[in-house]
Amino acid sequence: MSRELTYAEAVREAIDLAMARDERVFLFGEDVGVYGGAFGVTDGLYQKYGPERVRDTPISEAIIAGVATGAALTGMRPIAEIQFMDFITLSMEQLVLQAAKLRFMLGGKVEVPFVLRTPAGAGTGAAAQHSESLENWFVHVPGLKVVMPSTPADAKGLLLAAIEDPNPVIFIEHKLLYRTKGAVPEGYYTTSLSQSEVKRSGRDLTIVATSLMVVRALEAATKLAAEGIEVEVVDPRTLKPLDADPIIRSVSKTGRVLIVHEAVKTGGFGGELAAIIAESDAFDYLDAPIRRLAGLDIPVPYNRELERRMVPQVDDIIAAARRLVREAR
């Protein structure tokens, strides 16, 4: 059975189920307790599980990452929250130099099973220090896993899988997705990490999109279908480790690929995807150059219109897709 839940409710339900099932799981971060989280995601969990398992921390992002690492190393299953992904810059040392590397440095003799949840993305008028999409920084670090769900059902299943996973997982939620609704199965289920999913089938063009851009790509695909352009939308869901096969298969079928992400283009995940496609068998099937549509190379602006223009919108995706189907190699 499934019912409609918002993305935020799906995340909360996953945390609730994991905490009910496993004593080792606990939630902590800034304002996750009585306040219910800056975006209300953890609302009610403090009342249900109490102050020991739903812990408010001081505004100390380095120690949030340190606590996750140390507790995971010694038998707990922490779920840490960094209130805005921008603030993860203050946690980098513990995440990148400790959590990610400990297992390898210690000869494979330890496990560091934690999930660090964090909301990313622009579109809320919060300007340059509360709107970042920094996923690719973590994709660049061996030892970390990076998950970016785009739907409520994926958010729940992937979060439960991330909590079960014996590695440190950076779980990136999108602020604009929190209120989106979708069918979510009831009860406990996991969605495999590292499994890309074809969200819509089509023959003319592949769009590989992440997080909020999946939703926008699907909306664009519906409109393009009215023009006779059939778009296939592939959502990697887990950026690291990436399940590349469905992407390569899709591009081999359509011969054209548009990569869409919100993070700034330079050094973004799109470059990695483009390289993977170019290095794969799909290269021989390409009828046009690999194209990327991504955030402009600027800090996120405050002004409503400037902020909108900084990030790919549905119309931008439609325009880029139209251009690409007309292009020849």
């Binding site: 606990f26 020991e52 398992r53 921390t57 001081p58 100390s60 380095a62 120690i63 990452a65 340190g66 606590v67 996750a68 690492t69 140390g70 507790a71 995971a72 190393l73 010694t74 038998g75 707990m76 922490p78 040392e93 513990q94 130099l97 400790q98 400990l102 297992r103 390898f104 440095m105 210690l106 000869g107 494979g108 003799k109 330890v110 496990e111 560091v112 099973p113 061996p142 030892g143 896993k145 014996p166 590695n167 480790p241």
Partner: protein
């Protein structure tokens, strides 16, 4: 292995040079235990002297951070812990590792980069760890273990375990932001953490007197509402007593303590250090305060150690290190086919 009965001339001089005041209680440690602690300190000293020689011979590569001169703080602190307690260590962590119970042979194999090393040759000197004896790892980042210690403390507290975690760090770490965040959190949550600062006077070349206006680093505990104590880090008995009291407090659920053990590293920061920031006289002055000779003299004054017994411990230690080097030399290198192992569980 030769069975030495005569003591080194150098050691002999150190042992008879001063008369230690009579220590009646030895912090409650039995003569057998004291002999064991003396053994541990000598093992650390000999291990590191050998490691340095092997480095100079090109048999060990990379770099290493020797703790020669600081054995009193490593052994004194770990002596107050149980095998089930945890430690987190530093880049200058060989002593901590041995004091917590690690084997010299697997450590030496790690220095050689061998598969039989504690980290299967992946970590080396700077990441030496032995999780089976509760050593969660040395660390290449100054204050790197300090935030994790709060997590380990929370883990112990939430699992209702009868354990504590002691995190070693240097004077340099007290100026990292993570130090503040960790002490504050451990304090507000009453975590069973012992923050153990080995103040060896220099953060690489930066003297602590230039890096902080606080004379006693333990005074920083005031900022977190927890006890802070400064001890002579070259007096094993003083270190042990202070740590034991902090451990007891942590076990009672009363929270963390900050200990500052004042000590000195005789060698440079790492293998590239020309030591322009300190004088030979200063080094010589601290060498007079050798923690090993000090405990030995205290034991001799109490009539629980003879020169002959000391020489025997030395001979034992040399045998252990020789065997460790032999083990390391004869161990296999990691198979390059396993290079990707251990990144993910």
């Amino acid at each position: 292995m030769q069975n030495r009965r005569r003591i080194d001339a150098n050691w002999r001089m150190l042992l008879i040079k001063y008369r230690e005041p009579m220590n009646d209680s030895f912090a409650g440690l039995s003569p057998a235990r004291l002999l064991d602690l003396l053994h541990q300190m000598l093992l650390i000293r000999t291990f590191e002297e050998s490691a340095e020689q092997l480095y100079l011979q090109g048999l060990v590569h990379g770099t290493m951070h020797l703790s020669i001169g600081q054995e009193g703080s490593a052994v004194g602190a770990c002596a107050a812990l149980r095998p089930t307690d945890y430690i987190l260590s530093t880049h200058r962590g060989h002593g901590h590792c041995i004091a917590k119970g690690a084997r010299a042979d697997q450590m030496m194999a790690e220095f050689f980069g061998k598969e039989t090393g504690y980290c299967r040759g992946r970590g080396g000197s700077m990441h030496i760890a032995d999780v089976t004896t509760g050593n969660l790892g040395a660390n290449g980042i100054v204050a790197g273990g300090v935030p994790m210690a709060a997590g380990v403390g929370l883990s112990i507290q939430m699992q209702r375990q009868d354990r504590v975690v002691l995190v070693f760090f240097g004077d340099g770490a007290t100026n990292e932001g993570a130090f503040h965040e960790s002490l504050n959190l451990a304090s507000i949550w009453n975590l069973p953490v012992i923050y153990f600062c080995e103040n060896n006077q220099y953060a690489m070349s930066m003297a602590i007197t230039r890096a902080s206006k606080v004379d006693r680093l333990s005074e920083r505990a005031v900022a977190y509402g927890i006890p802070g104590v400064t001890v002579d880090g070259n007096d094993l008995l003083a270190v042990y007593a202070a740590t034991e009291s902090a451990v007891a407090r942590a076990r009672r659920g009363e929270g963390p303590t900050l200990i500052e053990a004042r000590t000195y590293r005789w060698k440079g920061h790492s293998k590239s250090d020309k030591q322009r920031y300190r004088t030979r006289e200063e080094v010589a002055e601290w060498q007079e305060r050798d923690p090993i000779a000090r405990l030995a003299r205290q034991m001799m004054a109490a009539g629980i150690l003879t020169e002959e017994a000391f020489a025997q411990v030395q001979a034992q230690v040399e045998g252990e290190i020789a065997a460790a080097i032999e083990f390391a030399r004869n161990s296999p290198d990691p198979d390059p086919a396993t290079i990707l192992e251990g990144v993910y569980a």
